[in-house]
Point group: D2
C-alpha cells in the first residue's frame, strides 16, 4: 500500500460520519477513489429509495478522496453539482470518482453513484462534478 | 396548519434518514422551508466539522420541501449545486430554502446552510441551487 | 467614481467579446454588478430567443465583476452553474449579480438574468451561482 | 447521413448566434456532438483568452445537441454547470459532449472544451455537466 493510500485510508477511517454510515473505501488510485455503502432502512427517503443526502454524501466523499489523492494530501470539497438520474433502489451503493483536471491547488473531479443489485448488476443513479482544494489552501 | 403544510410535515416525518439524523422541519411557507439539525459527533468529518454529506443533506432536503410546497405536492430533487463557503463549526445547523422560479412541473430553488452558535449567531456555511420536480412527473 | 469602479469599467471595456456584443456595465457596487445587452437577431437561437450562450455570457460576466469588485481587483470565474427558467424573449437582457460569501481569495456569487420588455417589465430567465477567484491567485 | 443527423444540422444551421460566431458542427453521433470554433480577437476577454461566455456557449450547445440527438428531436438546456480549468489559449476551440444518462424526457450530458494549438495538440479548458429536455416538454 502506498504512503498516499495509507493516508487516504487513515483520513477515511477518521471521519465519524463515514464510520457511522458504515461506508467503506473500496479502492483508491493515484487520482481516483471508490466508496461503497450498504443501504439500511435508516438511510432511505419517503419512497424507500436511498435518500438524496446519502447519494450526495457518496458523490461528495468519493470526489474529495479522488481529488485529495491527486493533490497528494488532505483535501476539501469547495463545491459540487449532482444530477439524480434514477432512484437508488437496492441494498448497496457504490460511488466512483476520478480527477479530470489537476492544477497545483485544486482538482476538478467527476463521480458517479451506482445502485448494485443482489447479482452485482449496477444501475447509474447520480452523476456529479466538483472542485476539491488542498486542505492547507487558505481560501 | 394548511393542508399543504400537513402534507409536508407528513412526508418529512416519513423519511427514515431524516428521523435517523434527528432533523426537524422548523417552518414551511407557500414556497419555502427551514430544516434544523443538531450536529452530534457522529455527523462530523476528519476535522470535527459537520461532514459535507450532512450539509448537502440539509440543502437538498430544504430545497426539495421548498419546491414541493411551491409545486403543491410530493417532489424530488432532479439536481443541485452547492458551494461550501466555511467549515460548519458548532452544534446546530439550519438550512433555509425558497423557490426562486416556478413552472407547472418544476421549481428552481435556492438554499443556504448556516451554523448556529450557542448564542444564536448564524454563520453562512453553504449556498445551493437546484431543480425540484413534481414526484408524479414521469421524467 | 471610486478607484475600484474605475478599474471595473476599464476591465469591462477591455474585453473584446463584450465590446463585440455591445454589452454595457450598467452599475457596480462594492460587491455587485449589473450588465445589460440589446439582443440583436445575431444573438438568438433556433426559436428566436436569446441563445443560451448569451444568457450564460451575461450571468458569467456579471458574477465575475461582482466577485472581482468584492475581491478588490481583476478576477476570473472558476466555475458556475445556471438554470434557464424561461425563454429570453424580447429586445433587452439585464444580468444582476452579487457576492454572497467572500473569503480572501474567492467570492461565491449569485446572479439572475432578466428579459426586459419595451415597457420596462422584467421577466426572470436564468438563475446562476458560481465561484470567482482573484486573477493573481495561482490555482 | 441519418434523418436525425440531418435534423441536428438543420437546427444548428438555423441558430443565428452560431452562424454569427462561425461555429461548426464537426460531428454527431446517436447521443454525442462535437462543435468547433475559430477564436477571433472579437471573442476574447481582457487577457486575450477566449471569453468564458464563448467557452460556455460551446459547452452549452454541444451538450444541447448531444442530448437532443439522444432524445430524438429538438431540445433545450434546462441547466448546466461548468468548471473552467485552464485559460483557453490559441486559435481554435473544440467542444465534445455526450449523453451520460437518458430517460424519456431528459438527457443528462457531460462535455469538455479543448483549446487546439496549431499542431493539433488539445488542452482541456473546461468541464461541464447539464440537463437537456425535449423541446416539446411543457415544463
Amino acid at each position: 500500500m502506498s504512503t498516499l493510500e495509507k493516508l487516504a485510508r487513515q483520513i477515511f477511517d477518521s471521519q465519524p460520519f463515514t464510520r457511522h454510515l458504515g461506508a467503506s473505501l473500496e479502492s483508491v488510485g493515484p487520482d481516483s477513489a471508490e466508496i461503497a455503502l450498504a443501504v439500511t432502512d435508516d438511510l432511505t427517503q419517503q419512497h424507500g429509495f436511498a435518500h438524496g443526502g446519502i447519494i450526495s454524501y457518496l458523490a461528495d466523499n468519493a470526489m474529495a478522496f479522488a481529488g485529495g489523492l491527486a493533490l497528494g494530501g488532505d483535501a476539501l470539497m469547495a463545491e459540487f453539482k449532482i444530477n439524480f438520474v434514477r432512484p437508488a433502489v437496492g441494498g448497496r451503493l457504490i460511488a466512483r470518482a476520478r480527477t479530470t483536471a489537476l492544477s497545483k491547488r485544486q482538482a476538478v473531479c467527476q463521480g458517479k453513484v451506482f445502485a448494485v443489485s443482489g447479482d452485482g448488476a449496477e444501475t447509474l443513479c447520480a452523476i456529479a462534478q466538483g472542485t476539491v482544494v488542498a486542505a492547507s489552501t487558505e481560501k
